[in-house]
Structure formats: C-alpha cells, structure tokens
C-alpha cells in the first residue's frame, strides 16, 4: 500500500513520525485527564472559598488565587525549564513523555481551574438562591445545580484547554519531550526539510479540528 514511498520515507514514517504521534497523544491524554481532575478541584475550591461562597475563607482563596495566577503568567516553555528539579523529583526523569506531563499538567490545571471558576460563577445567582430557599444543602446546590447548569460552559472551557495543551506538547517537544513538536524542530526546521515540517503541522491542524468538532457536538447535545 505504501510502496510509492522510498525506504527512507518508510523508515521515517515508522521510526520517527508514528512514535512521535504516539508520544504527542500520550502527553495530551495524560495531561488533559490529570489537569481536568485537578482543575475541577481547584476551581471548585476557588468558588466555595470566594466571597459569598459556602466555605468563605479569604486566606485560602487569596493564596490559591495567587498561585493559579502565578502559574498562568509563565510561558509554557519557561515553566517546563523552571520546574525541572520538581519534575525530576516527581517522575524521576527530566526528559521524555512523563517529564513533559508534569509541567503540562501544572500549567493546564491553573488554566482549567480559572475556566471552571468562571463557569460556576456565571450560574444565575437567583437560581442558587431559589435552590437554597427549598432547603437544599450547600453540597446539593454546588453539585446538583451549579454543576448541571455550568456543564456546557465548563465543557467548552475544557475543549479550549485541551487544544492549548496540544500546542503546549509541541513546545515541550522542543525541550526534550519528544512528540510532533520535536520532529518538526529537529527533522524539519533544523534539517531544512520543509516537507517534514508541513506534515507535522498538518497533523496538528487535523488534531485541533477533531477535538474542536467533537467538543462542539457534545456542547450542542448538552445545550438542547
């Protein structure tokens, strides 16, 4: 099927491109899953410790909010380098997929936490008040009412975050994480091989389109 390709091309596909796609997928999936989990936790914590929240606590909110903002102010590439010692401590290595997942997760967690926080805060205050007026508990109001109402908006937040994680994996590729980003830099840019660069860019475009389309589809299902 692929006999129009030369040996070199076959070799490139087999040994370099496919493993790179796999690495990108691994980084994307692990980082997304972990950051969605942590991001939800932090986002909910931000909402309930904020002014008027059910566990209002200025200190916790201020500290948490500060950390989240600090992380968000790092460009991903700087965060990856800056976190190297911590990354090594957590996963035991500073190169490859596991080493990339740590900073990617940290960066995306801050991003998702902020998105979740704003989605939850946009839930109609009158609705929240109405639910309290029926004697619902605080937990019921957050998890049964606010989550349900904010779900479509949280989902579109997660989709945006997933796409930004994908572009962050490419950046991570530039500093030793492997994946499509590293192929584009090493075999494309640094080897003056435009074809390789275009191929990786093409794959990234397809991935982004795919993620966004799936997201839009689910969003519409949820909204209707």
């Amino acid at each position: 099927m692929l006999d129009f390709l030369s040996d070199y091309q076959l070799n490139f596909l087999d040994k370099i491109l496919l493993p790179a796609i796999k690495a990108t997928f691994e980084m994307l999936i692990y980082s997304t899953i972990l950051s969605v989990i942590f991001g939800f936790l932090v986002g909910v914590l931000l909402v309930i410790t904020n002014k008027g929240g059910i566990l209002e606590n200025r200190v916790v909110y201020a500290v948490l909010s500060f950390i989240v903002n600090v992380i968000r102010s790092f460009p991903v590439i700087i965060l990856i380098v800056f976190m190297l010692p911590l990354t090594k401590l957590i996963v035991g290595t500073s190169i490859g997929v596991p080493a990339a997942v740590v900073p990617l997760t940290v960066s995306a967690t801050a991003f998702i936490a902020k998105l979740i926080e704003s989605s939850l805060q946009e839930v109609d205050k009158e609705l929240v008040e109405a639910m309290h007026s029926f004697g619902l508990s605080d937990a019921q109001v957050i998890f049964k009412v606010m989550f349900s109402e904010a779900l479509p908006s949280m989902l579109s937040g997660v989709i945006i975050a997933t796409i930004s994680i994908l572009s962050a994996t490419a950046v991570a590729g530039a500093v030793g994480a492997g994946g499509l980003g590293s192929v584009a830099i090493t075999y494309g840019y640094q080897s003056f091989n435009d074809t390789v660069m275009y191929i990786t860019v093409g794959i990234l475009i397809i991935l982004v389109q795919l993620i966004q389309s799936i997201g839009d589809l689910v969003y519409r299902k949820m909204k209707s």
Binding site: D124, L136, S137, P152, M222
Partner: protein, 334 residues
Amino acid sequence: MIEITAVQKSFGELKVLEDINLRIEDGDIYGLVGKSGAGKSTLLRCLNGLETYDSGSIRVNGTEVKELDKPGLRLFRKDIAMIFQHFPLMSRKTVYDNIAFPMRCWKYDKQQIDSRVRELAEIVGITDKLKMKPNVLSGGQKQRVAIARALSMKPQVLLSDESTSALDPGTTASILRLLRRINEELGITIIVVTHQMSVIRELCRNVSLLEKGRLVLSGPVNELFLSQPDALRRFMLEDDIPPDPRGEELQIMLTGDDNSQTILSRLARELQVSYSVAGGKIERYRDQQLGSLVLTFASEDISRVCAYLDAQGIVWHRYLPLDSGKLQEEEADA
C-alpha cells in the same frame, strides 16, 4: 403566624432595616411595598433565613428563624417556599424535572413525586408543557413552573419577590389571579414584595410600606387607600394633581356603595354648589371598586360642603399637593 419584632439589620454603616414590627396572620396575603432599596426584599429574605438580621425577633409559627442551626434551617425552608423576579429554572431540565427537583433532593418517593408534579401542573395550568425545556416557554409560563415548583413540598407560606415585575400587564394579571387562587384554595399565606401598587391593589389584603428601611405604614389595603396618608401618596406619586388657584380642593373617596357613588349629583342638587373636577380615578381592589375624585370648590362653599359630606358619612380629605421640596430631596437621594 409570622411575628416580626424590633428587627434591625445593617450592611456596614448602612441601616437596611430599622425597628421593624409586623404581624402576619395565617392565610393572609400581605404586601410589602416600597421603592427599590427600601429594604423590602431584605426583610422578605430574613423570613426564610436567606438573610440574617442583627437584632430583634422573627418568629414563623413559633420558630425563631435566627436560632435555627443549618439542618434545622433546611427543614424549616421546606415550609416556606419562594418565587422570584426572573423565575429561575434549571435550563437543562424539562419542566417536569424542574418541578420535581426539590422533591428529588429531599428523597420523596418516585410515585409521590410523579402524582404531585401532575397535580401541580394542573393547578398552575401547564399540563401540556411538562416535557418542554424552559427556554421555549414565555415569561408567564416560566413563572407558573416556578410557582408549581415552589408549591411542590406543600409549604405553609409562599414568599414572592417581585414575581410579576418582569412580566407584561396581561400576564401579571393572570399570575396574580393564580396566586390569589392558591391562597384561597390551598390556604397558603402569601407575602408579596413589590414596587407595583397595582399588585398590592389586586392581590393583597394587608400592606406595609417601607421607606429607607423603616415601616412607615401598615394596615388593610382598602383602609389605607381611603385614609390617603402622606407616605402612601408619596409612594403613589402618579396621582399628584397641581393646585387650582380658583378655589380649594377636596378629595372625596368613593367606596363603591350607592351613598358615595351618587355624591356628585347630590352635591349639586341638594347643596346647589358648583365645582370642577380636577382629577380622579376608580380602581379595583381585590373584589371592591375604590376610587377618589378631586373636586375644586369655591372657597366660600368649602365649610358647607365639608359639613354635608360628614353628615352623609362620606370619607373626604383636604387635597394638598405633596411638599415638592421634600420630594425633590428624596429623588436626589435616590
């Protein structure tokens, strides 16, 4: 019965409720009226513990609201339902699920929920909308769903916070009729917060007027209307009539009986006085027609006319324009 005694509340420096004393009997429809910022919504929220009060006492059927702990307050709220200005519903749930939601959270059994939802849909008139989502409903229909949801756990008291303020006049009237029916047929005490005098007129038996966190008037709606206290006139503002330099103005109250309704022709016939009509209107107060006429009489006739009105048992007032200086001051405040 709801007893409010010496309730105070401030937000920082700002006093939002000051020495509120009020008693609301079971089965009443009680109006709390006032301009925005007068504290009426805050007072309403104190009744079900959505707001706290700094001092004083609020007893609902003997329970001091302030003293309830969290689980106690949750149980207490089952008996005190509430509806809101923008009829907040859960946008992703059907009408059926919205009405059933509080009962589900309180773990009612399935069959009980189902029959209750259908019964309520019947009462509020939305049986054909149960499978729809709120976004396809009109404002009035959404408020009906919200009312059904509020009634789901058979409350004794229904609090209404500006529940018709976002609706057009026709829909407002139909929601008011529904609330009145709920009060009469289910015996639920209804407390209505509104800035619309028409809501008070059509729905309430008793009313309190709040100004800047203070109760300035309380009493049966029709009696307050007939006595025309200044605070009420200030609030209703719309009917202020400019003074007539040609004579003196009297406001004659029309209570709907023959005696007051024929007063115009009798004044002319029996006293042989002439007068001009400066203003007036007749409005519906629940089941009563009440109105007033402002008539301008020549100054020399005034004492004769007053004596005649007293003898006939007609309620009347000297009609004086409101102190315009004070009104402007108030508007500047607002």
